[in-house]
C-alpha cells in the first residue's frame, strides 16, 4: 500500500458549519425517515418472540376494562348507563397519556447508545415514544368502536370533532411532558419515579370510573379546579365522542353528564398544552448540551 495519497481531492459542495445537529422538534419532523424507523423498531421489538404477538395489544386493554368493570359495576354496583363504554373511553385516553409520559421520560436514557455516539436531534426519542403509544391506541379504538356499535351507537359530527380534539390534546400534552422529563431524567433518574407516581393519580383524577355528574353534585357546581386538569377534559371529550352516542337520550346526557362549555375547555387546554410544549422545548435545549456527558 502506498503512503502517498492518490486520486484527486474530493470537492465538497457544502458550507463550513457547526457539526452539532440542528435540534428542535421541527428538525425531528424533517428527519421523518429516521423517526419512522425508530417508531417501527419499538413496535416490532415489543412483540418479537411473543407467540400471540399483536394480539396482546387487544388483550391488555380488554383485561383492564374487565377488571375495572368488575370492581365498579359489579361489586360497587354503580348504575351508569353503558358503563363499560363510559369507562373504556377514559381508559384508552389515560393509557395513551401514561404510556407517552412514562416511556417518553425513559426514552433518552434508554437510547443512550445512540445519543452518546451520534449527532441527531435528541427530541427524536420522546417524540418516537409518543408515536409508539399512539400506535397502541389503535387496538383500543377498534375495541371501543366495536362496543359502541354493539350498543347502538349513533355517531354525530360534533362528537367526532370532540374525539379528535381530545386525542390531539393528549398527544401534545404527552409530547410536552415527555420532552421535558426525558432531559430531566438524564440528570436525576429520580424523575422516572416521579412520573410513575404522577401517572398513578391520572386514573383517579379523571371521570371514568365515576361519572362527571357525581363530581358536579359533590362540589355543588364548583368544578373549575377539577376541569383545570387537562386529562379530565380529554376524557370528557372522548366520552362525548363515543359514550354519548350510545345513551338513550344523547341531548339529555350532554346537558346532565358533561360540563357546560366542554369545547371551550378543550380548546383552552390544547392552547395551554402547546404553550407547555414551547416551554419544554426551551428547557430541553438548555439542558441538552450536558446530556452526552451525563449519560
Amino acid at each position: 500500500m502506498s503512503t502517498e495519497p492518490e486520486g484527486e481531492t474530493r470537492v465538497v459542495d457544502a458550507p463550513l458549519a457547526s457539526p452539532a445537529a440542528t435540534t428542535g422538534l421541527f428538525e425531528v419532523f424533517r428527519r421523518r425517515y429516521l423517526l419512522r424507523l425508530l417508531v417501527r423498531r419499538e413496535i416490532s421489538a415489543r412483540y418479537q418472540g411473543s407467540f400471540l404477538g399483536l394480539f396482546w395489544s387487544y388483550l391488555q386493554p380488554a383485561s383492564r376494562l374487565a377488571m375495572y368493570y368488575f370492581v365498579i359495576a359489579v361489586i360497587l354496583d354503580r348504575n351508569i348507563e353503558n358503563f363499560a363504554i363510559h369507562l373504556f373511553a377514559g381508559l384508552v385516553m389515560v393509557h395513551f397519556f401514561t404510556e407517552s409520559f412514562g416511556a417518553g421520560t425513559r426514552s433518552i436514557v434508554q437510547n443512550k447508545a445512540i445519543v452518546k455516539k451520534m449527532a441527531i436531534p435528541r427530541e427524536m426519542f420522546p417524540v418516537a415514544s409518543m408515536l409508539v403509544s399512539a400506535y397502541h391506541v389503535i387496538p383500543g379504538m377498534v375495541l371501543l368502536s366495536g362496543f359502541c356499535v354493539a350498543s347502538g351507537w349513533r355517531p354525530d359530527p360534533m362528537g367526532l370533532l370532540a374525539g379528535l380534539l381530545g386525542f390531539v390534546l393528549v398527544a401534545v400534552l404527552g409530547t410536552a411532558l415527555a420532552v421535558l422529563f426525558s432531559a430531566a431524567n438524564v440528570f436525576f433518574r429520580d424523575f422516572s419515579n416521579v412520573v410513575q407516581t404522577l401517572t398513578q393519580f391520572t386514573t383517579f383524577s379523571v371521570p371514568m370510573i365515576y361519572p362527571y355528574s357525581m363530581v358536579d353534585d359533590r362540589f355543588g357546581g364548583h368544578t373549575t379546579l377539577y376541569l383545570l386538569n387537562p386529562m379530565a377534559d380529554a376524557v370528557l371529550l372522548f366520552q362525548r365522542a363515543f359514550w354519548v352516542g350510545t345513551t338513550k337520550n344523547p341531548e339529555e346526557t350532554i346537558s346532565e353528564d358533561l360540563p357546560h362549555h366542554l369545547f371551550t375547555w378543550g380548546i383552552g387546554q390544547l392552547a395551554a398544552a402547546l404553550v407547555l410544549l414551547v416551554i419544554a422545548q426551551y428547557v430541553f435545549s438548555k439542558l441538552e448540551n450536558r446530556i452526552p456527558e451525563r449519560l
Binding site: 500500500m1 481531492t9 474530493r10 418479537q48 452526552p292
Partner: protein, 262 residues
C-alpha cells in the same frame, strides 16, 4: 483546497461529581468538603484540516482525544471557541449505534444507516455491498441478539464504512475482528483515504498511523502540543519514554496489533 475541519481555541470543561445521592451530598456539605470539581478536557485547541488530508490523532489515555472527536462529530459542543466542519461526517465511532438485539440483521442495517444519515434509497442501493462486507451469511434474517460478538461488530462496521461521507472519523477498538477482517477494514480505510475524503484517525499504534496518515496531532492533557509530519510526531509522543522507543522494531511489533484501534 478547501478547509474541511476548523477548530478554533476550543475549550471543553467537565465536572467531576464526588457524590451521587442527596444523603452523601449533605454529609459532604456539612463537613465542608467539595461537592464537585471542574477540569478542562480540552484547552485552547486550534488547528485546521484541508479536505483530503488524513490526520492521525495521538495522545495518552485521558489526553482528550475522544472528547475532541466528539466535538468534531457534533455530539458535544465546545464551551468556548468553535468547531466547524464541511460536508457529511461518518466513521467508526458509532458502529452498531441503534442496533436493537431483538431485530434482525436486515432491519438493523436500515436503522443504523438511518442513524448515520442515510436515506431509504441510499441504503437499498448499498444493501448488498453492506451484507457482503459484513459477511454474516444466512444469519441476516435472525435477531442480532443471537449474533456472535464478531458478527455484531462486523455488521456495524460494514454499515459505517459504506456511508458516503466527506469526513471519516475512526476511533473504536475492533478487538473482536479476526485478522482477515481487520485486513479488509484497513484496505477499505485506505480506499476511503484515496477517494479524497478527510480521514481523522485516533490511534496508539504508531505503525498504522505511519501507514495511514500524512499529518499527526498530539494531545497532552487537553492541549495540542504537536502538529506536523508523521515521523517526528510519533517521536514527540514518546519523548518521555525511558527506553527511547519509536524504533522500527517496535513499530513492526505493533503492526501485529494493527487494527486494534480502528
Amino acid at each position: 483546497m478547501s478547509e474541511s475541519i476548523v477548530v478554533e481555541n476550543v475549550q471543553k470543561e467537565f465536572k467531576i461529581r464526588f457524590h451521587r445521592t442527596i444523603k452523601q451530598m449533605s454529609v459532604a456539605a456539612a463537613r465542608g468538603q467539595e461537592l464537585s470539581q471542574t477540569f478542562n478536557a480540552l484547552e485552547d485547541v486550534s488547528f485546521a484540516v484541508e479536505q483530503g488530508e488524513s490526520i492521525g490523532l495521538m495522545g495518552l489515555n485521558g489526553s482528550g482525544k475522544s472528547t475532541l472527536l466528539k466535538l468534531i462529530n457534533g455530539i458535544m459542543r465546545p464551551d468556548q471557541g468553535k468547531v466547524l466542519t464541511r460536508g457529511r461526517i461518518s466513521g467508526l465511532i458509532a458502529t452498531g449505534a441503534g442496533f436493537h438485539p431483538q431485530l434482525s440483521g436486515r432491519e438493523n442495517i436500515f436503522l443504523n444507516a438511518a442513524v448515520l444519515g442515510m436515506s431509504d434509497a441510499e441504503t437499498r442501493r448499498k444493501f448488498d455491498d453492506i451484507v457482503e462486507f459484513a459477511d454474516v451469511g444466512r444469519h441476516l434474517d435472525s435477531a442480532v441478539g443471537h449474533y456472535s460478538s464478531g458478527m455484531f461488530s462486523r455488521l456495524g462496521f460494514s454499515v459505517a464504512i459504506h456511508v458516503d461521507c466527506d469526513i471519516f472519523l475512526a476511533d473504536e477498538v475492533l478487538a473482536v475482528g479476526d485478522k482477515p477482517f481487520k485486513r479488509k477494514c484497513l484496505e477499505r480505510m485506505q480506499e476511503i483515504r484515496k477517494s479524497g475524503r478527510t480521514l481523522f484517525y485516533v490511534s496508539h499504534a504508531a505503525g498504522s498511523v505511519r501507514k495511514m496518515c500524512d499529518r499527526v496531532l498530539v494531545l497532552e492533557k487537553g492541549r495540542l502540543t504537536y502538529d506536523g509530519p508523521v515521523g517526528p510526531g510519533i517521536k514527540h509522543l514518546k519523548y518521555d519514554d525511558a527506553k527511547g522507543s519509536g524504533s522500527q522494531t517496535d513499530e513492526e511489533q505493533s503492526d501485529d496489533e494493527l487494527g486494534n484501534d480502528i
